[in-house]
C-alpha cells in the first residue's frame, strides 16, 4: 500500500553538477556519446554543426594573471519544466515530436516523428538540441560497439540528451519483475554521472528528499524549483525555463555567469541570493 502511494507521486529527475569539482576532462562527453550512439563527423573541428548531447564549456572570470580563474561547465539538456511542462522546446514543436513526461520530468525526443523543422532548436536557449545534418556513419569495426538500447538517428531530425532514458526503462522493467514500483537511487543513473572521475555530477529524483540531488539543490517547488542552497544556481534562471539541471559553486563569479544582469542591477533585489 505504502509502495503504491510512493509510485503515484511524480518523479522529477535532475542533476546537480559541482563546478568546483569538475576538471573539464570530458569523460562525461565521451561516456554520453558511447552510451547514446551519438554520431560524429570525420572532421569535428567545426563545433557549430557537430553533435554533443553533453558539452563542456570553458568559462573564465575575465581577469588577468594572477587573478585569472577558469571553470568548466558541463551542459546536458536542462529538461526544462517551464510552467506546467511547457518547456521552451516542447510547446513549439508542431508535430508533438518532443514531449514532457510528467511522471519523470524528462523531455523526450521522438526521432521517427520529428520532421526536422528545427523550431525546438531555435527555442532552446541552452543550445542543447542538435540537428543531424549528415547521415550517421560509424567506422565499420565500431558498429559492433553501438548500444542496442538506443536507436541511432537518421539524417534530418533533431536529437538531444535524454537523461539516458533507456536506463530508466531497463531499471523499471527490472523493478517490475521484482514486484517493485519504486527505484532505488543508484538503480537509475545517467552515463555521464557514472563516468565523471571527480564525482562532480549527482543524479536523482529532485522530488525525493532521500536523494542526494534533493539534499544538494533543496529545490523549492512552490517557486518553480528554485534552489534553496545559496551556492546552487540554474542557467538562465530569469527566463523562467525552470530547468532540472542545477550547478553548484562556491565562487560568486561562476554563479553570476549563469545568468544575465543589466548594469548596476541590485542582484539581491532582483534575484535569489
Amino acid at each position: 500500500m505504502k509502495e503504491e502511494g510512493k509510485h503515484k507521486k511524480a518523479k522529477k529527475y535532475g542533476m546537480v553538477i559541482n563546478l568546483d569539482e569538475c576538471t573539464g576532462c570530458g569523460a562525461c562527453m565521451v561516456a554520453c556519446m558511447a552510451e547514446n550512439n551519438v554520431p560524429f563527423k570525420e572532421d569535428e573541428s567545426n563545433k557549430l554543426d557537430s553533435i554533443a548531447w553533453m558539452r563542456v564549456y570553458k568559462l573564465t572570470n575575465g581577469k588577468p594573471y594572477p587573478e585569472a580563474e577558469i571553470c568548466y561547465l558541463p551542459r546536458p539538456c536542462m529538461h526544462c519544466e517551464g510552467e506546467h511542462g511547457h518547456a521552451p522546446c516542447v510547446s513549439v514543436c508542431p508535430a508533438t515530436a518532443t514531449d514532457y513526461n510528467h511522471e519523470t520530468g524528462i523531455v523526450s525526443q521522438i526521432y521517427t516523428r520529428c520532421f526536422g523543422c528545427r523550431y525546438c532548436m531555435v527555442a532552446c536557449p541552452y543550445h542543447a538540441r542538435y540537428f543531424n545534418w549528415w547521415d550517421p556513419v560509424w567506422p565499420e569495426e565500431s558498429t559492433k560497439y553501438l548500444s542496442p538500447n538506443v536507436s541511432p538517428r537518421m539524417r534530418g531530425v533533431v536529437e538531444k540528451c535524454s537523461f539516458c532514458f533507456h536506463r530508466y526503462q531497463l531499471a523499471m522493467d527490472k523493478a517490475y519483475l521484482e514486484g517493485r514500483t519504486v527505484l532505488e537511487e543508484d538503480e537509475y543513473q545517467t552515463s555521464c554521472a557514472q563516468a565523471c572521475p571527480a564525482g562532480a555530477i549527482t543524479f536523482g529524483d529532485l522530488n525525493n528528499p532521500e536523494h542526494k540531488v534533493h539534499q544538494l539543490a533543496k529545490p523549492d517547488n512552490k517557486h518553480g524549483g528554485r534552489p534553496g542552497n545559496p551556492n546552487v544556481f540554474r542557467l538562465l534562471e530569469r527566463l523562467g525555463t525552470n530547468p532540472k539541471v542545477y550547478y553548484m559553486s562556491s565562487r560568486e563569479w561562476v554563479r553570476q555567469a549563469g545568468d544575465n544582469y543589466i548594469n548596476n542591477e541590485d542582484l539581491a533585489k532582483n534575484y535569489r541570493h
Binding site: 520529428c114 538540441r129 545534418w133 538562465l236 545568468d259
Partner: protein
C-alpha cells in the same frame, strides 16, 4: 505566333522577345532547381545552417514573401468586404502576387525541413500549442483560397473564355468571390499573426520574446498589421515595375492613390504600434531578463542600432509620411521610393525577427555567431523569385490582369 491567346485590344512584345525573357529567367530558375535537388538528395548539409542557426535565410524568405503577399488578402478585403470598388482594377495583380508569394512560401518550407516526406506529420500529429501548427493549417487553407481566386483569372484568357462552361464558371466564381475574400482575410489574420507569434513565444530568447494578450504575443497583431500595410506596397511596387518595363500606364492614378493612401494610414498606425512595442520591450521585457537594449546591438560585426533606425524611421516613418500626403502619392518618383522603402522595411523586420534572434548569445559565456548562406541556399531563395517573374510574364501576356489597360492605351 501566339496572338490568338493575347487579350483583345492590348499590345504585347513579339513572341521572340518574350521567349528570350523566359529563357533568361528560366536559366536562373533551373539553377535554383538544381540546388533544390541537391538539398533534397544530399540533405541540409548543403547549407550553411548549423546548430546555432536552426532558422536561416529560408525562414526569412518565407516570412518575407508572406508579408509581401499580404496585399492579396488586404486588397481583397477592401474590395469585396469593405466595398472599395475602384480596387477591382488592381485586385487581379494583388491576387497574382499573393499566389506567387504563397506558393513560393510552401515550396521553401518543403526544401527547409530535414525530412520533407514527413511534412504531413504537422497535420497528423498537430500540436495545438505550436504557432507553426497554426501557420501550417492557415497557410495551406489560404493557399487553397488563392487558387480559387486565381482560377477565374485564368478562365478569362481569350481562348479559354470561349468555352461556354468555363465562361460561366468564371462569371459565377466572380459572383461568389466575396465569400472567398472574407475567408482569405480571416485565414490571413491568423497565419500572419502566427508567424509573428513564432519568434515571440520563444521565452528562452529575450530578443524576440514579447508579452501579449491571452495566448497571443503583441507581434501576433504587429505582423498581421504590417502585412496589411506593406503588402499593398509590394502590389504597387510590382505594378509600377511592370508599367516601367512595358512603358505603359496600366492602372489609373485614382486607384493607385486610394491603395497608397490606405496603405499609408495602415503603415502609420503600425509604425506607432511598433514604436510602443519596441519601447516596452526595451525598457521592461528585456531588462527583466537581464538584458539592456544595447546588448542586442553591440559586440558583433553587423547588427548595430542602425538596423532599428533603418527599420522604424527610414523604412517606416518616411514611407508612411510620403503615402499619407497627396503630394507624395501623386509624384511617381516619391511614390515609387515610398513603396520600395516599405518593402525593404518589412523584409528587414522579418530578417531581424529570424536571423538576429539566432545571432545573439543568450548564455553569458557564448558569443555572437554570424551566418553567411551557402550558394545552394541563395539559389533556392532566388528560385521562387525567378518562378514569380515567369508567372507574372505569362499572366501579363495572356490574361487580363489590368482591366484598365485597354482604356489607358488606346
Amino acid at each position: 505566333m501566339d496572338s490568338a491567346l493575347i487579350p483583345e485590344g492590348v499590345k504585347r512584345c513579339s513572341f521572340g522577345k518574350f521567349a528570350i525573357g523566359i529563357i533568361l529567367v528560366g536559366g536562373v530558375l533551373l539553377w535554383g532547381v538544381y540546388a533544390m535537388l541537391l538539398i533534397w538528395l544530399k540533405g541540409l548539409n548543403q547549407t550553411n545552417m548549423n546548430d546555432f542557426y536552426g532558422f536561416a535565410i529560408w525562414i526569412w524568405a518565407d516570412l518575407g514573401v508572406i508579408a509581401l503577399g499580404g496585399g492579396a488578402f488586404f486588397t481583397g478585403f477592401l474590395r469585396y468586404v469593405i466595398g472599395k470598388d475602384e480596387l477591382k482594377n488592381i485586385i487581379n495583380c494583388a491576387v497574382l502576387i499573393g499566389f506567387i508569394c504563397y506558393s513560393s512560401a510552401l515550396l521553401i518550407l518543403a526544401i527547409d525541413v530535414g525530412q520533407p516526406l514527413r511534412s504531413w506529420f504537422i497535420f497528423w500529429h498537430a500540436n495545438v500549442h505550436s504557432m507553426l501548427t497554426e501557420v501550417a493549417f492557415c497557410l495551406s487553407c489560404y493557399f487553397a483560397v488563392l487558387i480559387i481566386e486565381y482560377i477565374p483569372l485564368i478562365l478569362e484568357n481569350r481562348q479559354i473564355n470561349k468555352v461556354p462552361f468555363l465562361h460561366n464558371l468564371a462569371h459565377n466564381m466572380h459572383e461568389v468571390m466575396v465569400i472567398f475574400a472574407a475567408t482569405g482575410a480571416f485565414l490571413s489574420f491568423f497565419h500572419q499573426g502566427s508567424l509573428g507569434g513564432t519568434p515571440a513565444v520563444l521565452y528562452g530568447r529575450p530578443f524576440s520574446f514579447r508579452e501579449g494578450v491571452f495566448i497571443w504575443p503583441w507581434t501576433f497583431f504587429l505582423f498581421t498589421w504590417s502585412a496589411a500595410a506593406y503588402g499593398p506596397c509590394f502590389t504597387l511596387f510590382v505594378t509600377r515595375l511592370i508599367e516601367k518595363i512595358t512603358k505603359k500606364k496600366l492602372v489609373k492614378q485614382n486607384v493607385i492613390d486610394l491603395l497608397a493612401k490606405i496603405s499609408g494610414w495602415t503603415m502609420g498606425t503600425y509604425v506607432i504600434a511598433k514604436i510602443i512595442d519596441t519601447w516596452y520591450w526595451a525598457t521592461v521585457t528585456a531588462p527583466a531578463r537581464g538584458f539592456n537594449l544595447i546588448d542586442f546591438y553591440s559586440n558583433n560585426p553587423f547588427y548595430g542600432i542602425w538596423i532599428l533606425i533603418v527599420e522604424i524611421v527610414v523604412c517606416g516613418i518616411v514611407p508612411a509620411l510620403i503615402l499619407l500626403t497627396p503630394k507624395g502619392r501623386n509624384n511617381s518618383t516619391l511614390l515609387f521610393t515610398a513603396v520600395s522603402l516599405a518593402c525593404i522595411g518589412v523584409l528587414l523586420n522579418r530578417w531581424v525577427m529570424v536571423l538576429q534572434v539566432m545571432a545573439i548569445p543568450v548564455m553569458t559565456f557564448e558569443t555572437w555567431v554570424m551566418y553567411i548562406p551557402s550558394w545552394q541556399e541563395v539559389a533556392t531563395t532566388v528560385l521562387p523569385v525567378a518562378y514569380g517573374i515567369i508567372l507574372v510574364m505569362i499572366s501579363f501576356r495572356y490574361l487580363p490582369i489590368f482591366p484598365q489597360e485597354r482604356e489607358l492605351n488606346p
